[in-house]
């Protein structure tokens, strides 16, 4: 089941990458980043059957960092939305020349 889990994690990661590149809604891009984190978590758990319990500990820490990242990222999204009144990343062009 280990090899199948790794294939599944790779496929989910690839789909998440496609979402980040293709979509323009910043919330959906953020959800796709969460999808990529989840795929990496699955890889860690699959490899913990092979290497040891440390893989599961890493997933614990990744989940904590993901929670912190979601809180800060959503705060940034709210603060940008107050300024531009949109979530389309094409309109966030303050640093564009």
């Amino acid at each position: 089941m280990l090899a199948e889990s790794l294939v599944l994690a790779g496929l989910i990661f690839v789909v998440g990458t496609l979402g980040v590149i293709v979509r323009r809604n910043v919330i959906i891009m953020f959800l796709c980043i969460e999808l990529q984190l989840n795929a990496v978590n699955l890889t860690f758990v699959a490899f913990s059957r092979f290497v040891g319990i440390e893989g599961q500990l890493f997933v614990f820490f990744v989940m904590t960092v993901a929670a912190a990242e979601a809180a800060v990222g959503l705060a940034i999204i709210i603060s940008i939305f107050r300024h531009y009144e949109t979530v389309n990343v094409n309109r966030f062009d303050l640093l564009k020349w």
Partner: protein, 173 residues
């Protein structure tokens, strides 16, 4: 039985992740990702990571996704059904990148997956720890001995994220 369950969970996870990318409304994207996270928790159970499956459901699919839903409702984005797929150049770039990644993955697994199934005793050690300490104790034992510094630093990280989110989201006075 385990194999059948694994393939059911895998199909739901992959379908859900595709649904996140293609669905127009952010709310349905969010519900698709909840399905993906829940079925990943099922796969965690099949891989003998019971505690992680529990916190995946409670923290990830519960708390973090509800936070996302809360922000979507706060910004009133639930009725925004306009398509927001990027133009042709970004589409080609995206499919090229993902195709390259998928190709690398297929090549790597095609060449080296034979040695993966040989278990070096690590899985048996995890099973023994689960039997001895229980599902929570097997994780807590190394977490509070070998990795206690990292654990405390995680607490500081959460505090910093909390203060940072408050400062960023409050209205400029």
């Amino acid at each position: 039985m385990t194999e059948v369950l694994f393939f059911v969970f895998a199909a739901v996870a992959l379908g859900g992740s595709l649904g996140v990318v293609v669905s127009r409304s952010p709310v349905s994207s969010l519900l698709f990702i909840v399905a993906t996270l829940a079925s990943t928790a099922g796969i965690f159970v099949l891989l003998e990571a019971h505690f992680l499956a529990a916190i995946q459901i409670m923290v990830y699919a519960g708390a973090i996704m509800v936070l996302f839903l809360f922000v979507i409702m706060l910004l009133n984005l639930g009725h925004d059904y306009r398509g927001d797929i990027r133009g042709r150049v970004a589409m080609i770039f995206g499919f090229a990148v993902t195709g390259g990644m998928g190709g690398l993955l297929a090549r790597q697994l095609g060449s080296g997956s034979a040695g993966l199934e040989t278990n070096l005793g690590a899985g048996d050690a995890i099973d023994a720890a689960l039997l001895e300490h229980g599902a929570v104790g097997a994780i807590a034992q190394p977490l509070f001995t070998d990795y206690v510094v990292a654990f405390e630093l995680t607490g500081i990280l959460l505090l910093v994220a909390l203060v940072g989110a408050l400062v960023l989201a409050k209205k400029a006075s």
